[in-house]
């Protein structure tokens, strides 16, 4: 086993175990913490795949931004109520069976497909994508994918407006 593989197994194990913790913990703060662990290990796997830029964005935006927001909201709402809830509802057996079927299907397909013809041979240009990852992504973003980038700016504006109008308290002057 190469070092690469050992590293992958470790990261994958951490990701899966903490993902399991995310969905089984009673306390949402614990869930959030385990989700952060998952996110970190996925970022590690990105590094393994030579996606350095995404690994950095994953840590900065996901962990540093989104998860902090999650924790913020968890703290804001009443934790007492939240933590004493029942953990699972009656649908869990159905969910488990459905997901097990889904997982077996995915797994079967991916293992089988990999051996036969799952993936096309390397089709991309013969450039080395492992070098200067951020630079190449930046170029692509502003050249080939300029339009989605612009639409994303509108999306973020909408998100700002939405967060302000939904979470703002109703002022007396609004009546």
């Amino acid at each position: 086993m190469t070092f690469d593989q050992i590293l992958f197994y470790c990261l994958a194990a951490i990701a899966i175990i903490s993902a399991l913790m995310v969905i089984t913990r009673r306390n949402p703060v614990h869930s959030a913490m385990f989700l952060i662990t998952t996110l970190f290990s996925v970022a590690g796997i990105y590094l393994q795949l030579h996606a350095e830029f995404l690994a950095a964005v994953q840590v900065i935006v996901y962990v540093g931004g989104i998860m902090v927001l999650f924790l913020f909201v968890i703290m804001l709402v009443n934790l007492e109520v939240v933590s004493t809830e029942r953990r699972f509802n009656k649908q869990w057996i159905i969910a488990l069976i459905a997901s097990a079927v889904l997982l077996v299907e995915f797994g079967y397909v991916i293992v089988r497909g990999g051996k036969s013809s799952l993936l096309p041979p390397v089709t991309g240009p013969a450039q080395d994508l492992t070098r200067k990852n951020s630079e190449q992504i930046g170029l692509m973003l502003y050249q080939n994918y300029m339009l989605p980038f612009e639409i994303a700016s509108l999306l973020l504006l909408v998100a700002i407006i939405g967060a302000v109008i939904l979470a703002k308290r109703r002022l007396a002057s609004d009546k």
């Binding site: 995404l54 994918y145 939904l166």
Partner: protein, 100 residues
């Protein structure tokens, strides 16, 4: 070099855990976190494919998925806060006026 299938299977497992978490969990915030788990597994799939076929567009897609996840998180959590202001619990079973 780790084979592509390993990454895909890891992503499939994470995706299924996300689905299980979403369907099973009765807490709004953890349901939302399960969705984040699903998005992460999708991102992992994209990056793995992108590396395998040596095309960068998969990583661009992941970048946009992260942007969208951030926007959704902002709006979704604002909705949860607004909901919470009018109701005192986050238990989904209490969204009782309408059946989920």
């Amino acid at each position: 070099m780790v084979p592509l299938n390993y990454f895909l299977i890891l992503a499939a497992i994470l995706f299924c855990l996300g689905v299980i978490g979403f369907v099973m969990k009765r807490n709004l915030i953890t349901m939302f976190m399960s969705i984040e788990l699903m998005l992460n597994s999708v991102n992992l799939t994209f990056v793995a494919f992108s590396r395998h076929i040596n095309v960068l567009s998969g990583q661009i897609f992941v970048f946009f998925v992260m942007v969208i996840a951030a926007a959704e998180a902002a709006v979704g959590l604002a909705i949860i806060v607004a909901f919470y202001r009018n109701r005192e619990s986050l238990n989904v079973d209490e969204v009782d006026r309408m059946k989920l």
